[in-house]
Symmetry: D2
Subunit: 96 residues, 4 copies
Amino acid sequence: MLIVEISVVPVGTGDPSVSKYIRTALEIIKSSGLNYSINPMGTCVEGEWDEIFSTLKKIHDRLAAMGCQRLVTTIKIDDRRDRNQTMQDKVSRVSP
Amino acid sequence: MLIVEISVVPVGTGDPSVSKYIRTALEIIKSSGLNYSINPMGTCVEGEWDEIFSTLKKIHDRLAAMGCQRLVTTIKIDDRRDRNQTMQDKVSRVSP
Amino acid sequence: MLIVEISVVPVGTGDPSVSKYIRTALEIIKSSGLNYSINPMGTCVEGEWDEIFSTLKKIHDRLAAMGCQRLVTTIKIDDRRDRNQTMQDKVSRVSP
Amino acid sequence: MLIVEISVVPVGTGDPSVSKYIRTALEIIKSSGLNYSINPMGTCVEGEWDEIFSTLKKIHDRLAAMGCQRLVTTIKIDDRRDRNQTMQDKVSRVSP
C-alpha cells in the first residue's frame, strides 16, 4: 500500500484563489473510496498504485473540462515494503 | 506571511524508519514558536520568510549532528500577496 | 502530452550514495522509449499518462527487488492543454 | 555546499504561459553568481544556504512587484555532508 500526497495547482485561471478547483478534486478523491487526509498544502491518500493514479488522472481530466488549461501537480509517494503503515501511524509515530 | 510545507528525508541511515529524526525536526519546529500542522507526508508551518528558513537550517544542522550524512528535503511555499490566509483557512475553504 | 519530473530517493539503504539505484531507474526509463532529460535533482520525461506511470511503477518494483525497502518519490507533472510543448521548448523559452 | 532545485509557479496570472516570470527569475539567479542549470521543470543551483535562500526571496519579491499575487514554489534540497558533490558530478554518476 502506498501513501501519496497530491497537490494540484491550476495555472493561468486569472484568479489567485483556486479553491473551487480544489473542492472538485477533493470530491473526486472522496468518491474514489480512498482514505484521505486534507492538509493546508495538499491531500494525502492511501491505497494501491492503480487506484491512486487513475483517480489523479480523473482529477486532471475533470479540471481541464472545467476550463483549466494548465495544471502543475506535485505528488510525493511513500512506498514502504518492509511493513505496512497507515497515514495515521505515520503521524502518531512522530508527533512530539 | 508564508505557508510552507517541509518534508525532510534522511538518506543512507541504514534503517527504513526515520521517525527519530523526524521527531527531532518537529521538536525544533515546536520550539521555534511557528504555528505548525503535522500531516502524514510533511509538516506545514506559517510565518515569515526568515524565521521559517532559519528553522529549517537548524533542523538540517541538528540532524547532521545526529549522524545524518545526507538529507533530501522538499519544501513547498505558498506565498500569497493579495490577502492573508492561514493554514486553517486553506483547509476550511476546500473541505468537501 | 505530459512533461513529468521524477525523483526517486531510496531510504534506509545504509549508504548516502544511491547512484546504483538511480542508474537502474534510468535504464528502465531509457528502455521505455520515453524522451528523457537528466538533471542534477531528477529526470524529466515527456509522454502520455499511462506510459509514464507504468514506467514509474516498474522502477519502484525493480528497486524493491534490488533491496530498497522504502522509496520516497517526488513527481511533478506539467499538464498543459492549451498547446503542445516539449521539454526542449520549455527550456528554450526561458533561457536568459 | 547545497544543491537545490527551484521551481516557481505563478498562480492567477490569467495566462497559462508564465515564461516571462520565469525569465525574470532566471536573470536574478544569473546575477546572483550561483552556478545554475536549467531543466524543463525547474532550475538547479549550487551554493551555500544563505545565498540560495536570499536569492529565492529576491525572486519572490521581484515577481510580486511584476504583479504576481500568488507564487507556489517547490524547492528540493540535497544537503550532503559526507563529501562535496557538484551538480555535474551527480549527473555524471548516474547517466546510463
